[in-house]
């Protein structure tokens, strides 16, 4: 990333759609300093790397999983300190094989978020340095945040 270059939301949008014409779709929602997009499972890591290296998104705020019953989603909130933009990337992954590339190698701050998402949803982050149970005791066998997990039973 070049120093002291700031981009507006529109510039970021155009740069991303130039680099990833097929994989990334922007949502119509528009709010100041926010960017909403959906990305492909396969191109997520490259998208994040592009955003970090070229566009100055240097802070991973949140990685959260969502169980949509027919599919899983991973939602990334990635913000930029220089541009003051927060991007929301929604990635769909199949429910029977929940695997996605880890972004911990890019942002160390995503480490525990991904661990927690694994802990709660059972989503496997490939390339994560230490994907173990974080909040729950290691001997738990269920993933509590999945919608089909009946918490009353445990």
């Amino acid at each position: 990333m070049e120093e002291n270059v700031t981009y507006t939301v529109e510039q970021v949008k155009s740069k991303i759609s130039e680099a990833f014409p097929a994989a990334v779709k922007f949502e119509s929602k528009a709010k100041p300093r926010r960017l909403f997009m959906t990305a492909d499972k396969g191109s997520l890591f490259n998208l994040c790397k592009f955003m970090k290296d070229q566009l100055g998104f240097d802070h991973c705020s949140l990685v959260s999983g969502v169980d949509r019953c027919d599919r899983m989603q991973v939602v990334y909130h990635i913000s930029s300190f220089s541009n003051n933009i927060t991007a929301e990337i929604v990635v769909d992954i199949p429910r029977d094989n929940p695997e996605i590339d880890a972004i911990t190698p890019l942002w160390e701050g995503a480490n525990w978020h991904e661990r927690e998402t694994y802990d709660m949803f059972g989503i496997i982050f490939k390339g994560h340095p230490k994907l173990e149970r974080l909040l729950l005791p290691a001997d738990y066998t269920f993933f509590p945040m999945r919608k089909d997990c009946d918490t009353g039973r445990h």
Binding site: L136, P137, P144, T151, H154
Partner: protein, 187 residues
Amino acid sequence: MDLSTYPHAIAMSAKEFVDWSTNVMDDIVKATGVKRALDKVSDPLMNWGVRNSMYPLHFGIACCALEMAACSGPRYDNERLGLVFRSSPRQCDVLLVNGWVTKKLRPSLRRLYEEMPEPKWVIAMGECAISGGPWYDSYNVVQGVDTFIPVDVYIPGCPPRPEALIDGFLRLHQKIKKSKIGTFMDD
């Protein structure tokens, strides 16, 4: 003295002798009424001592831990009552459970309780420790600390105010006052 109740009185080992002499002393003290006289002095004295120097365990779990800290602050100042928070369970008398107990914590809390020397008391502070509180439908919260350790005093509130905590300790005073903590020998 009737030696027939101690059939090995003639040839006994050192341990047996200790037991035997303890029993004899016990019998004498009880029969002559010395025990009652001693208890009359020692019971109120010991009881007063125990009541006025209760050391709670310095163990903050959740919200109520801040009120515990506020209780030792200048406005409430629990040291007036001789309450000093100690960090080692070996030196404590009161286990103050001030927050929800999760399944991951339960073994540790049980162990802390076991590490404390007798006589010891447990105060459940706040709704979470009493019954699970707002987390009544959680998969990871133990519904009440009294499911695995005996609790003496419950302080309701979410979180209880520091005055309520001090009141809880004073209620524990009343409970100790009723117990026979300072009697010299077990009846």
